[in-house]
């Protein structure tokens, strides 16, 4: 290289790593592969010098987001816990003494052992974003408590439940858009995660091919900023907007009739006998199979009869004389109704009728006139050979913004309906499932809640009810679970209702508990509605002065707000110091063309007296004598989590990890392999197996896919199925609400179930706004997740908090004008439940009736090792103070939860508020009281790195 004589000669080839360790990121739930550069530090210990994306990894293919690159600062956070802690001050104060692990584990065993021997349901064990649910759920099942779930109930259960009940899979972890082939892409209610890097990679691929991106979101940040078209929808009306698109597709005759006939229940016959117990259920043959009217033979035959083609529009007289009506007819009647006409919904949605008509026409044009073909023959489950794979290149993705409403389940169903009407699920260019999905709802377990002392639960806690008979109710109709999941309040609460646990436990409704055991969920702060109220519940005492929740055990790596409320703190490691398993038994990292799972492993050893929580849980399981964690002699069955990952079998030959089983050459199925974790490490921390080409599309119906899924251990026998546009389970609940059947809801819920359990996707107004005077609370208020922060974690990160150290309330210009608000002013925002006073910034790039802010930036003083005056504690704020876990009182004395009535999903985004200008307070209101930090505060300054 030419260099001028007087030019300096810097070192152009610095040595940046002694070794590069490949593991899995944990800066959010995306689970990208990372290359961790390690160098020997001055103290002789390995130090992390750089983290980059792993180019070979199926999730991120080398790229990495801001959070991932800031992993060093999380790994070195001053908020890291150092040793087990036992509370020695009042709850919430943060006053602790450090204790040894033996003492901590003995104490936990004493509390938990007593519960298990007497009444296991007095333990409530709930976990956050931990990605180890296949272990934690097994542990809770073995313990015998019905009170277990992870955080899905307050995150995106609507998305998961609606997807699985409708089409046997859902967005994000269970499926993905065909980024390589889609020509039009619609993104609903997705902030800048779920999932982070794959969406960015995908949007880039779409842009490179000139595909059109439409963002439907009240706020125009992030992905919506780069969308070709932004639909600034009013919160809670997405379902109405989508069904108006459906109305247009029906009205213009642009639905994929052939697809509906083959791959959905559009042709299944419904018993049409209003007022009777069977109305709206499928007409079935003697084997219980739903019937269709075969066009070719004119006969009633089972839906899966080879060669049969269902009539879609013809009523038929059933053998018993009743009328049978195809689902398609009911759909046409429902969606051609003027309620869903663009003009009828435009004002409510904040989207013009012309836009709705144009978008419907565009979707139809791309789907039907720009169809794509992949020249691959395939065979369906009935033996029909197809010469090629025809694709409808419109793809959709939706996530939490859709979920977090009390009409979210039906809205998610509506989005799936739209995809299916366009014939764009599991075809080239559309939405595609990722193994272990697709899987019909019948392939999932039912929920279990029957509890007995010293005995495991008879089956998994969480499952998919098929009707009222599967609810978890005691004989007197009371809830078996503390969160009231799987009751008439929330029959399909398939992820549980973590957001109701503390409130119900404090009220003793349905019963009191003894120990609340939480892992990695900031329930005393940003992960609970009604933050102030939650703190009161956690510290509430009875007449004798005893806490109404007698024991709280909390496991976390960092000094969060929730730590302060624990009686016993089990300190976890950081993600670079632990084993973890991203399992096909849990939330996989597969892609549409491949199955994949992954591990984390300790690329550095902890420099504190902390232990990976999963290993601690396994040890507690052995100490408590839980059968799955004990060997034949009653001793510990597993050394630690790594040992469990390799040796645990869920079914014979099926374990947490799919790769390199048996002698190391078997994948999917095979005996446990003691070298398995080492093989994962050698392979960069992950395993991936490509789906055979013939099996990559039309998976629910593709014989080659079904066979491959059996071979890989995803299912034990082929389970082809068709999409359930008409949901019979929902209709069963509705029939019960009408008074049919032996399982009857309480009277106060009959009307709501009738209104909200439509077996076809429908829309109804969100509950909170329906309960309030819209003039008093005219505005919506929501949060968005910033791309560079993940929940509460980012504020302890020296680099990320320089990006998002505070969170102004963004106010649309027209609202700001009316309230006389300028940038930097403060405003009082009032809901039916509370008020906050917060700093304001004006914006034009959002829905005109919607206030918004970044999620979880506000922090309690003293938490996260932040120093006094940190802007997160003075200007930052939580919207949570405005949101109640209950709906506004109806005067009937009942506690109506602020949740979706079908799934129990927390309805965060139903929030309604008003705004007015306020005098600037000294700090955001409500001001937090300080908690004492068990780890002190971070240093004055930081110079990380230095010349290699």
């Amino acid at each position: 290289m030419t260099r001028r004589r007087d030019e300096p000669a810097p070192d152009l080839s610095p040595h940046m790593a002694d070794e590069v360790a490949q593991t899995t990121c944990y800066m959010c739930a995306c689970r990208c592969g990372i290359d961790v550069f390690l160098k020997q530090g001055a103290d002789g210990r390995k130090q992390v010098s750089y983290i980059q994306g792993n180019r070979d990894h199926p999730k991120n293919r080398g790229v990495l987001c801001a959070k991932g690159s800031a992993g060093i600062m999380q790994h070195l956070s001053p908020a890291r816990l150092r040793k087990p802690l036992r509370r020695n001050g009042p709850r919430g104060s943060g006053e602790f003494e450090e204790i040894e692990w033996e003492e901590a584990l003995s104490l936990a065993t004493e509390w938990l052992g007593g519960i298990r021997e007497t009444d296991p349901k007095r333990l409530a064990f709930f976990t956050g974003r931990d990605q180890s649910q296949s272990l934690t759920s097994l542990w809770a099942q073995e313990f015998g408590t019905p009170n277990y779930a992870a955080h899905g109930g307050f995150c995106s259960v609507n998305m998961a439940a609606a997807g699985i009940y409708t089409m046997g899979g859902a967005f994000w972890e269970f499926g993905a858009p065909d980024w390589e082939r889609a020509k039009m892409f619609m993104l609903f209610g997705v902030a800048e995660d779920h999932d982070s890097n794959p969406i960015k990679l995908g949007l880039s691929r779409l842009k490179a091919r000139g595909a059109k991106i439409v963002g439907v979101n009240p706020v125009r940040t992030g992905y919506n900023a780069i969308a070709d078209e932004w639909v600034g929808i009013t919160p809670g009306t997405d379902g109405l907007f989508v069904l108006a698109l459906v109305h247009e597709l029906f009205g213009t005759g642009r639905v994929d009739v052939a697809y509906l006939a083959r791959y959905t229940n559009a042709g299944w016959l419904l018993v049409d006998a209003p007022g009777t117990a069977k109305h709206g259920l499928f007409a079935r043959d003697a084997d219980g199979k739903a019937l269709i009217l075969d066009r070719k033979t004119g006969k009633l035959v089972a839906w899966d009869t080879p060669g049969a083609v269902p009539e879609l529009t013809v009523d038929v007289t059933l053998p018993d004389g009743r009328t049978g009506r195809p689902v398609f007819q009911r759909m046409a009647a429902a969606y051609l109704a003027e309620d869903y006409a663009p003009e009828a919904v435009a004002a409510r949605c904040g989207v013009t009728a012309a836009t709705i008509r144009r978008l419907a026409a565009e979707l139809a044009r791309v789907a039907f006139e720009e169809e794509i073909v992949v020249e691959r023959p395939w065979t369906d489950w009935l033996g029909r050979r197809h010469d090629r794979m025809v694709g409808r290149p419109v793809a959709f993705h939706a996530m939490r913004g859709i979920s977090a409403h009390s009409n979210g389940f039906q809205t998610c169903r509506a989005i799936h309906l739209l995809q299916i009407l366009l014939g764009s699920v599991e075809c080239p260019g559309g939405f595609r499932f990722k193994p272990p999905y697709p899987k019909p709802v019948e392939a999932h377990p039912k929920p279990h809640g029957d509890t007995h002392p010293c005995a495991p639960l008879p089956g998994p806690h969480l499952g998919f009810p098929a009707g009222p008979e599967d609810l978890l109710l005691e004989a007197d109709g009371s809830a078996q679970r503390i969160d009231k999941a799987f009751t008439w309040d929330a029959p399909l609460a398939v992820h549980g209702m973590m957001h109701m646990v503390i409130a119900n436990a404090a009220e003793g409704d349905p019963y009191r508990i003894d120990t609340l055991f939480l892992y990695m969920a900031n329930m005393a702060w940003n992960s609970s509605m009604n933050t102030g109220g939650t703190a009161e519940m956690l510290t509430r005492a009875d007449d004798k002065g005893d806490y109404v929740i007698p024991h709280i055990i909390y496991a976390d790596a960092y000094s969060s707000e929730t730590v302060a409320y624990a009686d016993l703190v089990l300190p976890d490691t950081t993600y670079l110091e632990r084993h973890d398993c991203i399992s096909l038994l849990d939330r996989p990292i597969s892609e549409p063309d491949s199955l994949a799972d992954a591990i984390r492993w300790p690329v550095v050893d902890p420099d504190r007296d902390v232990r990976g929580f999963q290993s601690v849980l396994i040890e507690l399981g052995a100490r408590l004598g839980l059968p799955a964690f004990c060997d034949a002699e009653g001793g510990p069955k597993y050394r630690d989590y790594a040992d469990y990952m390799a040796r645990h079998e869920r079914r014979p030959g099926i374990g947490p990890l799919a790769g390199w089983r048996g002698d190391g050459t078997q994948h999917g199925r095979g005996a446990p392999n003691p070298d398995q974790v080492a093989r994962y490490r050698e392979n960069g921390g992950f395993f991936t197996a490509e789906i055979p080409e013939e099996a990559q599309f039309f998976k629910p119906w593709n014989a080659a896919y079904q066979d491959w899924a059996v071979e890989m251990g995803l299912i034990d026998r082929p389970q082809p199925y068709v999409f359930q546009l008409w949901s019979e389970p929902l209709q069963k609940f509705r029939l019960a609400a009408e008074g049919h059947g032996e399982h009857q809801p309480p009277d106060h819920l009959r009307a709501r179930i009738g209104d909200c359990f439509s077996p076809l996707p429908a829309w109804y107004p969100p509950f909170e706004e329906a309960a309030l005077d819209p003039a008093a609370y005219p505005l919506h208020a929501i949060t968005q997740r910033p791309a560079a922060m993940y929940h509460s974690w980012g504020s302890q990160n020296a680099w990320l908090r320089q990006i998002h150290g505070e969170n102004p309330l963004y106010v649309p210009n027209e609202v700001a004008d009316a309230a006389g608000l300028a940038d930097g002013d403060w405003a009082r925002v009032t809901s039916h439940h509370g008020e906050i006073v917060v700093p304001v910034r004006r914006t034009g790039a959002c829905n005109g009736h919607t206030l918004w802010t970044w999620n979880a930036i506000g922090k309690r003083k003293g938490a996260w090792a932040l120093r006094p005056g940190a802007p997160e504690t003075t200007k930052g704020f939580l919207m949570n103070h405005l949101i109640h876990e209950l709906l506004p009182p109806k005067g009937d004395g009942r506690r109506w939860t602020n949740s979706d009535p079908v799934t129990g999903q927390a309805a965060w985004f139903d929030l309604r508020v008003r705004i007015e200008k306020a005098e600037a307070p000294a700090e955001s209101l409500p001001a937090s009281t300080p908690q004492r930090s068990p780890v002190g505060t971070g240093p004055d300054d930081l110079t990380y790195g230095g010349k290699p």
Binding site: M1, R3, R4, E7, P8, P10, L12, S13, P14, M16, Q52, R55, V63, C65, K67, G68, S69, E192, K200, S204, K207, R220, G222, A225, I226, A227, D228, E229, F250, G251, T252, A258, A261, R295, K296, T313, A332, L336, T352, T355, R357, A787, A798, W799, L800, R801, Q802, G844, A845, L866, P868, G869, A870, P871, T874, L942, T943, G945, G946, P948
Partner: protein, 249 residues
Amino acid sequence: MTTLPEPSGVKLGLVIDLDICVGCHACAVACKEWNTAAYGAPLSDQDPYGADPSGTWLNRIHSYEVTPEDAPQNAPPQIVHFPRSCLHCEDAPCVTVCPTGASYKRAADGIVLVNEDACMGCGLCAWACPYGAREMDAAEGVMKKCTLCVDRIYNENLPEEDREPACVRTCPANARHFGDLGDPDSDVSRMVAARGGVDLMPEQGTKPVNKYLPPRPKTRETPPPARPDAEEAPGGFLGWVDRALALLD
């Protein structure tokens, strides 16, 4: 005063695609992470856990609400995310203003660097830069700036495929591209030609090497196409369903 070298013809730089930048800050953090460990002094942070955290960053992302001049009335503003770093100008005022020769432009590839051993921290270069692309490190008292990862792009200890700036390697949206803008046939030059890439503030006469690709126009509200009505098709609504099913028979 420091003189600029005779240009060699090679102009290494970045092309940043504002049409796809989602404002995620991945590039900024990856940059900080690499450069705090590599070239020169670490990129320090002051009061990192306190009331007024600040630090040295070589790349920062700004977000603006923008209403295009030709936008229809009442069109809502767009948000444009704008990554800002050194543009490695051909006529770099930060170099010519430097009293010690610490600030220099490499003859071979045009990268503008600071020789920290010669930097006295006077800050003149930051004043001279119209883009605000230089930051004084508060701990070390030396001027820091984008090095175009000069210690990556030629680094023989890195695999060949990784010899690109950290920001480019990490960008999840593929909005950042690295190459020789002096070569009209390079990928980056072709991209600039195809997409109408622009100089930032050309009126400053600095001749930036880095280029920005402008956001593509957004969908404008247009009347929906004529609406075929299923009811008006032969046989009405049921007629088209029947014809579609007949294809399956």
